[in-house]
């Protein structure tokens, strides 16, 4: 395995991660394992790489106001709490049922997403009081539609609880759990697809940081191995961030559904083989 190959292998997960609102670990880890990397090093590297995708894409998204910072700040507190509880629970809960429980959640998300596939923008007529109090709303210039999209979010408390669940999944399975976060954004908070992807990417760096710090202090970060992956993911995420706003919300959702389906299969497969 050489440095150039690692940089090149890491670019596509970075692109996909930036577009779909995931860290890209769901693609990167299997690719590294297929290249013969031991799974624990693959996961540890992926956690650092997820932060690279998050910061690389957010650097572009925040400047273009696709990321909703208030929403991100509100939900980060929930997802980090979930991640810590999840990491603590892994000692007591066997992994096999976890894959099925989280796989079931993702399947429910897939069904709901499919029903909304043709919907370009969700409409929230009336915000609940807490969402309104927290000013969970925003706007962004949609380059594909050529309009300024204003949106309001709803179900703040359910969204917060959803993020605790996403954090739990991340902490228990050792993943960034972007796929869970985007589902919460779109299905519970009723956020449009593009700000969902970009805000999820923004938050995911924080969840991954909690995980990566564990690996850093455990000595599982191999400098010469992780650095080219970080470079590849950063390049990929910056490319992906330039693509996202040129796509329709429907296209973003279709890409997300494809990754969701892949994640469900992967999760059920792990549930059977673990």
């Amino acid at each position: 395995m050489d440095i150039l190959t690692l940089v090149l292998v890491s670019i596509p997960p970075g692109i996909l991660g930036a577009i779909a609102g995931l860290g890209g670990g769901v693609i990167l880890v299997p690719a590294l394992v297929m290249m013969g990397v031991p799974i624990k090093y693959a996961i540890a590297s992926s956690m650092v790489a997820v932060i690279a995708t998050s910061s690389g894409s957010a650097a572009a998204y925040v400047g273009r106001r696709l990321t909703n910072i208030r929403v991100a700040m509100f939900l980060e507190a929930f997802t980090i709490t979930g991640a810590i509880i999840g990491a603590a629970l892994t000692v007591y809960v066997p992994p096999k049922p976890l894959y099925f429980i989280f796989g079931l959640f993702l399947t429910a998300s897939l069904i709901s997403m499919r029903e909304r596939i043709s919907e370009e923008l969700p409409i929230v007529e009336k915000q609940d009081k807490i969402s309104s109090w927290l000013k969970l709303e925003g706007d962004y210039l949609d380059e594909k539609l050529g309009v300024l999209v204003r949106y309001k979010l709803t179900n703040a408390i359910w969204g917060g609880l959803g993020m605790v669940f996403a954090g739990l999944a991340g902490g228990m399975l050792g993943i960034g759990a972007g796929i869970f976060k985007v589902s919460v954004f779109e299905l519970i908070l009723k956020m449009p697809s593009k700000p969902s992807s970009s805000t999820s990417n923004f938050i995911i760096g924080m969840t991954a940081l909690a995980g990566a710090s564990v690996y850093l202090f455990s000595g599982l970060i191999q400098t010469y191995f992780v650095a080219p992956i970080v470079a590849g993911m950063l390049i990929g995420s910056m490319i992906g961030a330039r693509i996202l706003n040129k796509l329709s919300n429907r296209a973003v959702r279709i890409i997300f559904i494809a990754v969701l389906l892949y994640s469900i299969i992967q999760m059920l497969y792990r549930g059977v083989t673990v």
Binding site: F74, I221, A231
Partner: protein, 117 residues
């Protein structure tokens, strides 16, 4: 469309700086690695190449591929941490106490996690 808020500008600046600094350090480190190892691109997988904070700090005054690449990884790792801290200070300054509490929770949780290790 309203202009970017000060917070958005600050966070954008932190992220862009963190990403560019990490990329530059990474490419310099990889070039140095290439030269140090007689034009070899193969990756070593051993204890000597493990990123350890103590080892990095003890070698930080030397310019070699290990310190540059480690600095690149640490820069990208701590970029989100810095942006949470900055957001917390911003919300304190504009007296938005709801968000001070939320950002403080995240910041203190991460700090405790680092210190616990």
């Amino acid at each position: 469309m309203r202009n970017n808020t000060i917070l958005e500008k600050m966070i954008s600046y932190i992220l862009v700086t963190g990403v560019l600094a990490s990329l530059i350090l990474c490419f310099l480190g990889l070039i140095l690695y290439y030269l140090e190892n007689r034009l070899c691109l193969e990756i070593p997988f051993n204890d000597q190449s493990t990123l350890l904070l103590g080892r990095f700090l003890s070698q930080a005054n030397r310019v070699n591929s290990y310190t540059l690449l480690s600095a690149s990884i640490l820069t990208i790792l701590f970029t989100p941490y810095i942006r949470v801290f900055t957001s917390m200070i911003y919300f304190m300054k504009v007296k938005d106490y709801k968000y001070v509490i939320l950002t403080f929770t995240v910041f203190i949780t991460l700090t405790i996690m680092f210190l616990a290790h």
